[in-house]
Point group: C2
Chain length 362, copies 2
């Protein structure tokens, strides 16, 4: 088992990473008599709810659970209210602990519910997708969507502990694994060349879910994100680097309609575009762009723009990004492999050229 500590101004909390942790009583920061409410969904419940409940009961906890519908489209205030109703029906007080058992959607909704129920109760994250294990469960961002915008309503709220059982990835669809790897590769590209090189050696093992390599990989990603978050808890500066490829990616997601491409797939192509733009600006070499492309492709990720999307379709969506300030595009680019920076006011014709470089014309 590996352990990464997230150090925040007010307190620290641990991320435990290992095999079969769901059944490991010692990793749960709970004691006999604690009341807990597990938030999960209809897909994950049949796979893991019983296991987690049994472990918690072994500790001596009083366990209830609530199952949401599966999907990004249920990441709403209504789902939040379902959690509150479950808590209130069973008279849960301020000392109840909420447990998020699932991917990023469950983590985000349950985290926001924990932040809001009686103005804040403790919560534990048990992320079960690769994306949530390396990204959404670290950093304390919680949210639900609004009809008019994704993640528009939420809170910064930290869990008391994160428990990552890599074994849960065995049931996750391969496409979701690959999407998670896009964020993994992103961490290497923006902040950690040695990790990027390690990925070049081990990507096939990760795709094949080799347990030891998965643990190392997840721990490294959590550490990178935890360091960034510790420096910048409420996203005023450094945290922006984590958005490599995301502004381009959001344009793809919005253009295709949410749910057609997975977020990670869009981020993969977006990262390629950011790399291509970095090359055009003379920062990185053609060879480095090629290394990124190869690594993404080995993780079965797309590296070129969707067939039905034209280069001209990107900019209008990109200009509506949250990171746009006073009409100026702010993009995360690469100074070199393993070193990202925020570029403000990049020439739009160069941006278009970079998008073209990642588009297949017949």
């Amino acid at each position: 088992m590996l352990c990464v500590n997230v150090e925040l101004k007010e307190r620290r909390y641990p991320i435990h990473i290992g095999e079969n942790l769901l059944t490991e009583t010692s990793v749960y920061p709970l004691t006999a008599g604690d009341k807990v409410m597990i938030v999960t969904n209809e897909t994950i419940a049949p796979l893991y709810l019983h296991t987690v409940t049994a472990t918690l009961e072994k500790i001596g906890c009083q366990v209830s659970s609530v199952q949401l519908k599966d999907g990004e489209k249920y990441k709403t205030l209504d789902s939040l209210n379902e959690i509150f109703t479950a808590l209130l029906r069973e008279n849960h007080g301020r000392d109840t602990i909420l447990i998020a058992l699932g991917g990023g959607v469950i983590g985000d909704v349950a985290g926001y519910a924990a932040a809001s129920y009686q103005r804040g109760i403790r919560f534990i994250q048990i992320p079960t997708t690769l994306l949530s294990q390396v990204d959404s469960s670290v950093g304390g961002k919680t949210a639900v969507n609004h009809e008019l915008g994704k993640n528009m309503i939420g809170a910064f709220y930290q869990p008391i502990s994160v428990i990552i059982d890599t074994t849960t990835l065995n049931t996750l669809p391969k496409r979701e694994i690959n999407a998670g790897l896009a964020e993994v590769i992103k961490y290497g590209a923006i902040l950690d060349l040695p990790f990027f090189e390690w990925l070049e050696q081990h990507i096939d093992n990760l795709v094949a879910l080799n347990p030891a390599d998965l643990q190392h990989c997840i721990a490294r990603c959590c550490q990178i994100k935890a360091d960034v978050v510790a420096r910048d808890e409420t996203e005023k500066g450094d945290r922006a680097l984590l958005n490599l490829g995301h502004t381009f990616g959001h344009a793809i997601e919005t253009y295709l309609g949410y749910g057609n491409w997975l977020h990670g797939e869009a981020v993969a192509v977006g990262s390629m575009m950011a790399a291509a733009l970095s090359e055009l600006l003379g920062n990185i070499s053609k060879k480095d762009v090629g290394r990124l492309e190869k690594l993404l492709a080995r993780a079965n990720l797309p590296t070129i723009s969707p067939d039905n999307m034209q280069p001209e379709d990107y900019l209008p969506h990109m200009m509506r990004d949250k990171k746009v300030l006073a009409g100026k595009l702010r993009l995360v680019l690469l100074k070199s492999l393993g070193q990202a920076y925020v570029a403000t006011d990049t020439d739009k014709s160069l941006v278009l050229d970079a998008i073209r470089a990642c588009t297949q014309f017949d």
Copy 2:
């Protein structure tokens, strides 16, 4: 104009108290170009929205507004969502400032909306009821109700400034003024004997809305609450004293159904019961109980239990209070006039005797 500063761990903010402050540009912590969204309701908008908008436009702000329906029953997630919709429709970003213009209901909903929109934007309180001026606008508690419980969903979130224009009280129904005075008298009783004595001298002026006395009174209450909150921001200890009369009062509100008695009216009777119980326990004299009763009566507040409620009707409701811990009643009682304490595990038959002492039997 008077000014009280609320000193918190992370920062401080001012409460400005005076006549005609709505039109006083200098009290708004805003500058030309700021985008603001005013949250108010259908009753208050025709009275004050135009005035506030004009002042903000004079400063050079871009002003939008959203009007909720009037009433406690609209203190819901749905109203919250209306605010988000208004913000998103007009593309409000993280630097927008939300302004709560109204009583405690508007303050609580708008405050929670500010805490949640894009994970937190700045907000300003302009409380327009006496209750919100002396109580709900200070302390950073924000919330909405759930079908199954009042104030169950919310956040601790502080405004950047509170602007109290005492002139707004001229349009407030007298019954609401009196209800606010119940909380005013509570502050004296729990923490400040000299203020209690000042109230004995000036209560008629307050009922008559004498501007100078109102300002002094509101400033004193804000200072008392601000001091308590500074010592106990997230309600672990001292803040409990502010609940004098509230556990009895909630029993009345719940028994009669919310909205029949005003909160302040129930608190008035509840304070009498807490005083009677304090007397039974040998803490305070019959004379002190009489002083409290007289002061409440001069503010046109009830001092005895509602006609249709029996002494036996109280305890079942009181046992369901948030402050009950492990089946033990925790009540705020008086050691002396001006000095409250939290009593745990008070003999239930004495509690019943105290309720009887405040019941009129024919």
